[in-house]
């Protein structure tokens, strides 16, 4: 009786678009809805989505303004999520996958696991946790929360401090700017890994919280060096401002490996180099 259909909300976004292609590549029946098809900010979207959704559907909720930098953007994301919650009332979904963020864990230094306590300290983090909480009200057989580490890859429009911005800078004026000496450390996860894990979580019907990360922390200085070594004309790494209180965030990916033994996280060295080559060949 369950529908085999996967409905992706936010299908033209960075993560959503990769989920659509990955799910299609695995032979799943996918329907992608982007903000052009359905504006979840508009109250009338609730009725439209209600008539569209079917019992047993798998819904991937990746519709969001990311990162939410202020209260207005955070509120917009909660409004969009609320539209989904209202639209799904009275319906039993097969699976709901909410694409959230590691920002729910806050930005202090430390090793994160799926059991880590959520202590968000940014609009993006508070909003992400709010989206998760709102979605918990939706009737679904399987409820999956995916929290990726900072994501890099082709199609990323966010231009946040990290691999994508460094790559643009390297391919642009050849000047990569790091804060202080780039000593802060993060786990950077490839978009292909995020899409892979989301689609696997659907085919395996995995429930609960899943952190997606490479399991390997790199400092911003290391990432900048890496980008500069792969960029065709190289790049210079320059320090701007300072990193008053550098933080180090890494992930223990044991839980991820246990759930998906076939998923081998991409190392930053391989993933970032691959992204750069794609960017070069795409011009």
């Amino acid at each position: 009786m369950n529908s085999k259909r996967v409905v992706v909300l936010g299908a033209s976004g960075f993560i959503g678009s990769h989920v659509v292609s990955e799910a299609e590549a695995r032979g799943l029946e996918v329907v992608g809805l982007s903000s052009r098809d359905l504006d979840l900010m508009a109250p009338e979207s609730i009725g439209i989505l209600t008539s569209f959704l079917r019992a047993g559907d798998t819904v991937v909720h990746s519709a969001a303004i990311a990162p939410a930098r202020d209260a207005a953007e955070a509120a917009a994301n909660l409004t969009m999520t609320n539209s989904l919650v209202k639209a799904a009332e009275g319906l039993e979904l097969g699976q709901l996958v909410i694409v959230s963020s590691d920002a729910v864990y806050g930005s202090t230094s430390g090793v994160v696991t799926e059991e880590s306590v959520c202590t968000p300290d940014s609009f993006h983090g508070v909003m992400s946790l709010g989206r998760e909480l709102a979605c918990a009200a939706i009737q679904t057989d399987v409820f999956t929360i995916v929290r990726p580490a900072p994501v890099y890859g082709m199609g990323d429009t966010h231009n946040s401090y990290g691999p994508n911005r460094f790559a643009r800078q390297a391919l642009g004026d050849g000047q990569i700017a790091v804060f202080g000496s780039g000593e802060a450390g993060r786990d950077h996860v490839a978009i292909s890994d995020v899409a892979d894990v989301i689609v696997r979580s659907i085919t395996q019907a995995e429930r609960g919280v899943i952190n997606v990360a490479s399991g390997q922390m790199r400092t911003f200085a290391q990432v900048a060096e890496l980008v500069s070594s792969v960029a065709p004309s190289g790049a210079t790494v320059a320090s701007v401002g300072s990193e008053a209180n550098p933080t180090f965030r890494s992930f223990d990916v044991s839980g991820l490996i246990r759930r998906f033994p076939d998923h081998i996280p991409t190392t930053p060295e391989i993933g970032i180099a691959a992204m750069l080559r794609l960017m070069v060949s795409a011009g």
Partner: protein, 421 residues
């Protein structure tokens, strides 16, 4: 002197052996007829070296019985059934209550009854109406060294409703047998002392674990640091500073959960116990983290697993690192598995794990080998493999391998607390 021991699991049996060796008459009591029969036939093994041997040879001054009337003439009765951990982290001490109810009908009012079972603080006071002479006795047994610890305790800690009053003769005489200092305190202090000791030990292990992992990353070697710390008289030779995959031992984790639950229920910060438990989980995954890194580097085509037993000398695989590893990775990687004694049950469909009787085969055919049980018989094979030019990367969480065995590239050995460079 006649000593009654009630509840014949690990703790009760070890105490009964010690009491017998001190020259007392022992009445060993259990409500389970099957347990009584097994002990009479010397067929009960609480996984403690020496027990079967003792039961096999013991004479008629050691009486095993299921009849409470046999406890009537004892000078002291110890309730020593091992308690189980509940989901909440608290001890299920209902069996202790039940045994007290059963025996108080037979034990004379003037005979001291001593609770040696692990109970939550408050338990003894809550039960003092059941018997006028009720005491708590803190046990400090260690699995594998149970009899020795029971027979040669470093001190006794006794909980009493009137700590300032002299102990009754039966208890005083019993405690004198071991010839160690006796500390008498309130029930609650004695009950909490037991938990406190285990939490301090767990804290020490956790400190070592987190520092050992740091040592790996900064190019240090915990095997140099550990003996140096032991020389520090404030820490001592016996300190719990050998790193491992978690805090180890079910009792320590149990007591941390117990302290956490107790603290939370009484409005005391439980963050410390929680941190220790969280770090223990983190360390349990150490091997998986190493393997993930090696897989990312593309160097795991076939994975060797040496050891399924949860510790050397047993065939039980439950809770064993080897079994956990096989179950987690068998859908993903070709594996070759060996154990000298323990067996792997039939694997599920799609499993890529194969079994072999040859350690040699594991070390020649796999490119990464994890020593999941430090069986002593693996040593010569590992020494030979690491001494030759070609061979697998050896992942050795229990640090069975000596550094000097590695003759060519140190990157072929991955150990907890040791940097690979």
């Amino acid at each position: 002197m006649r000593v009654g021991i009630v509840g014949l699991t690990h703790l009760g049996v070890c105490l009964s052996v010690a009491a017998h060796r001190w020259g007392t008459d022992v009445i060993a009591f259990d409500t389970n007829p099957q347990r009584v029969a097994e002990i009479k036939a010397a067929q009960f093994d609480p996984a403690e070296p020496g027990v079967i041997d003792f039961l096999d040879r013991v004479g008629d001054r050691y009486v095993v019985t299921g009849d409470t009337r046999a406890l009537q003439d004892c000078d002291i009765v110890l309730v020593a059934v091992d308690t189980m951990l509940e989901e909440t982290g608290e001890n299920d001490d209902s069996e202790v209550s039940e045994l007290l109810r059963i025996i108080t009908a037979s034990v004379p009012q003037s005979t001291p009854i001593v609770i040696a079972s692990q109970v939550r603080p408050g338990f003894t006071r809550a039960h003092r109406d059941m018997h006028p002479e009720l005491y708590y006795f803190m046990e400090t047994l260690i699995f594998g060294r149970g009899i020795e610890r029971a027979q040669f305790p470093e001190r006794y800690i006794i909980g009493s409703s009137q700590p300032e009053d002299p102990l009754p003769a039966g208890l005083r005489d019993f405690l004198a047998l071991a010839g160690c200092p006796v500390h008498v305190m309130s029930y609650e202090s004695a009950e909490l002392t037991k938990l406190s000791a285990n939490v301090v030990l767990a804290a020490s292990i956790t400190a070592a674990n987190s520092l050992a992992e740091l040592a790996e990353r900064v190019g240090a070697d915990w095997r140099d640091i550990e003996p140096a710390l032991r020389e520090d008289s404030r820490l001592g030779q016996q300190s719990y500073i050998s790193p491992g995959l978690g805090i180890g031992g079910a009792n320590l984790a149990r007591d941390l959960l117990g302290i956490q639950a107790m603290a939370e229920a009484r409005g005391v910060s439980a963050s410390f116990s929680r941190a220790l438990l969280e770090h223990s989980d983190h360390m349990r995954d150490w091997t998986m983290r190493v393997l993930t890194r090696l897989r990312q580097e593309g160097s795991v085509k076939r994975l060797g697993v040496l050891g399924l037993a949860y510790k050397p000398g047993t065939i039980s695989t439950r809770g064993g690192a080897g079994r956990a590893l096989v179950e987690a990775l068998e859908p993903a990687i070709d594996m070759l598995v060996h154990d000298p004694q323990a067996r792997l049950t039939t694997r599920p469909a799609g499993s890529r794990a194969a079994i072999t009787d040859s350690v040699e085969q594991v070390l020649t055919e796999c490119d990464v080998v994890v020593v999941t049980t430090p069986w002593p018989e693996y040593s010569p094979f590992l020494q030979r493999s690491l001494g030759s030019e070609l061979g697998p990367i050896v992942v050795d969480p229990y640090r069975q391998v000596e550094r000097s065995w590695v003759k060519f590239s140190l990157s072929r050995l991955v150990q907890l607390g040791v940097s690979g460079e």
